[in-house]
Symmetry: C2
Subunit: 395 residues, 2 copies
């Protein structure tokens, strides 16, 4: 099992931030280094790497065009700003390590086996999560994708071109999608369900619906020292109401809501802001509860929230889910089932009709999207073994 | 009076932002263009321009070293982000225009006459307001100044060096200060006192005390979709409490308080922030009321506010104030007296013992630090004439 450790160490140096977390954003130099690492690991295993029109990478053992759709493992290598080491990379490193484990045991696949590296899963740079899988399935229109801009005003098209990916070809790729017979994604759990239940590995039942909304809170810039309180139109006060309403409404309706990103203009100590832009992330079930939180937050801000993304509930197919849980659990019995509030490429593929499943690896604190995100090595290795059993069963 | 209009038009092109406001920050390309404009206007009037160790520029008519300290007019040319056209530049343009008016009338000064262009009055880039005058008087230590950083991590020393000003020489400049016998600064009013009282020009009695405090609100980064509300430590909620407490405490104590600048880390839509840094601007009288607001805001945030600047009350000398008001008012009688909540280089010089006075020009809406900042041309010209009468009286 040493291949897991050495891959993990190699990856650990790429895009590390002073916080101890990672800054690995789509189509950056760091992203290029991660892609090079992926190509290198595939080559070391005599796998063929092909790209697709969406910017994703696929390492294949066997020929899915000649021998029919394959079983694909995978995840993503990009991160949120100052994100943890596990969210994404654990799935890809575990896929390579599971293949090593199976090959060492003398096993060989009865169908093509792929490992996917999805582009821009976090949407940290251009604001659309799962951009690679959504482009692949056609859920994200290429014209919209090309026009997305980062904080510096660089478009996704410009960034992809600078990284050597011709943006004119971006878009739905039925040929790449047809090669995927089944998709299985392993991911660190982003909560404490497995930790509380004392299991190292679980299997996903569903992804709860989630979305992002932008609130443009407008006021009137003015001098902080000379403008009477009664004469002010200060959007920072509106922000305070928005933040508090998001928490209160979410608590009342038993969903989660977060204001994690705020941009203030002009953002000067001695000026009342002219505008505060806030982004609301809201998730949960049932869908009308999420919609009501968004409506209440909009009312608190006096604006109509602009929906930047919305992912409906995804329920993974029960037959594949139960088969994966049985294989992953091994002798002691099936792995436990849990749902999740985080979006994943597996959810995009499942919604597009690709039979898909997910494994989760225990996270002792539940913390994610943070330098403190963690999984014990023993649990990671248990995840690799569970994934290997799933591959043995499915391929 | 055409010189006012043409100078105003020339300046209006420098550092204009898409908002219609201005972005003229210390030691930038725009700052260099403004300095070039200042040198050009001085040369056109056969004035000698000298710098000082603090980065300020001085245009002299006459020799203050040979003929004793002079009368200095002036203000600053830098702006807050998306600031107005008048805050600062009106004082310098009016000074040149007043000199033109006096010379056209055949007047000549009985003492050296200077026009000062103070560096970095707004503190928009490096966070310390009146940095040029505070360096000049020794109120800002050169080591601290050199180490100040902007949002990109560039130090003031690096920025000054890049602009051709050797940062090793930054610091108190007694020689430059000794040349200033009297300082008179004309400024657009940043409030509606003159508009409500129907007077085009007023004279300052005092600058109310004001300060800036930084609040480092720490939480724990976590996934926005998977972390239960009860498990969160979300500093955005603390920000909301800070913003509301600032407004409520200021209203209760009859001072003003503003949260105009906020920096969120990591500032990702799908991550609970690890830290929110907020800056509090608080001003007013009496001083204990301001201190109490700061204490209440700190308590709401669960932190000790870090004092980044504090300017005690400045009361301009009554004899000079009344003489300036009489001269500025002209035949109808003295100009009205008002105090202000905004800091100015004149306040720094007054506190350092330089006899100083200020004229304010009517602002019909009171709006400042905003693209909407305005003064009617007729009022600006009335300000020039008032300033010319003051010069005639004092020099």
């Amino acid at each position: 099992m040493t291949s897991f450790g050495s891959m993990w160490d190699d990856l650990g140096e790429v895009g590390r931030a002073p916080s101890g977390g990672y800054r690995r954003f789509a189509w950056t130099r760091e992203d290029g280094a991660l892609r090079d690492w992926f190509r290198g690991e595939a080559a070391r295993r005599s796998m063929t790497v092909v790209g697709d029109r969406a910017g994703n990478l696929w390492a294949w053992d066997g020929d899915p065009d000649a021998d029919g759709p394959g079983l694909v493992l995978g995840s993503h290598l990009d991160s949120v700003p100052d994100g943890g080491a596990f969210d994404g990379p654990l799935g890809i490193v575990s896929a390579f390590a599971a293949l090593d484990l199976l090959r060492a045991s003398g096993w060989s696949a009865s169908r093509p086996l792929g490992i996917a590296c999805f582009a821009d899963e976090e949407g940290a740079r251009f604001g659309v999560a799962c951009a690679g899988s959504k482009l692949l399935t056609g859920d994200l229109a290429p014209d919209r994708a090309r026009a997305l801009t980062d904080a510096d005003g660089t478009t996704l098209a410009e960034a992809a071109a600078a990284a050597g990916h011709d943006p004119r070809h971006l878009g739905r790729d039925d040929e790449a999608l047809r090669r995927v017979g089944t998709y299985v994604e392993l991911h660190v759990e982003q909560g404490r369900w497995l930790a509380d239940g004392d299991a190292p590995v679980g299997v996903a039942t569903a992804i709860r619906p989630h979305g992002r909304w932008r609130l443009d809170l407008r006021g009137r810039a003015d001098h902080a020292g000379t403008t009477r309180l009664a004469d002010r139109d200060d959007p920072m006060l509106t922000l305070a109401a928005v933040v508090q309403t998001a928490r209160e409404a979410a608590a009342a309706l038993d969903v989660v809501a977060t204001v994690g990103k705020v941009v203030v203009r002009p953002n000067a100590v001695n000026a009342i802001p002219s505008e505060v832009t806030a982004w609301l992330d809201a998730r949960g079930l049932p869908v009308p509860a999420v919609r009501q939180v968004v409506a209440e937050v909009g009312a608190a801000g006096g604006v109509d929230p602009v929906e930047e993304s919305w992912v409906p509930p995804v329920v993974f197919g029960a037959a594949l889910r139960d088969r994966v849980a049985a294989a992953a659990g091994g002798d002691p019995g099936p792995a436990p089932l849990l749902d999740t509030g985080a979006g994943h490429d597996a959810g995009i593929l499942a919604a597009a009709g690709v039979p898909s499943a997910m494994l989760f690896v225990r996270n002792p604190t539940g913390v994610s999207h943070s330098p403190a995100e963690h999984a014990e090595t023993a649990d990671c290795l248990a995840g690799v073994e569970a994934l290997a059993r799933v591959v043995r069963d499915l391929a």
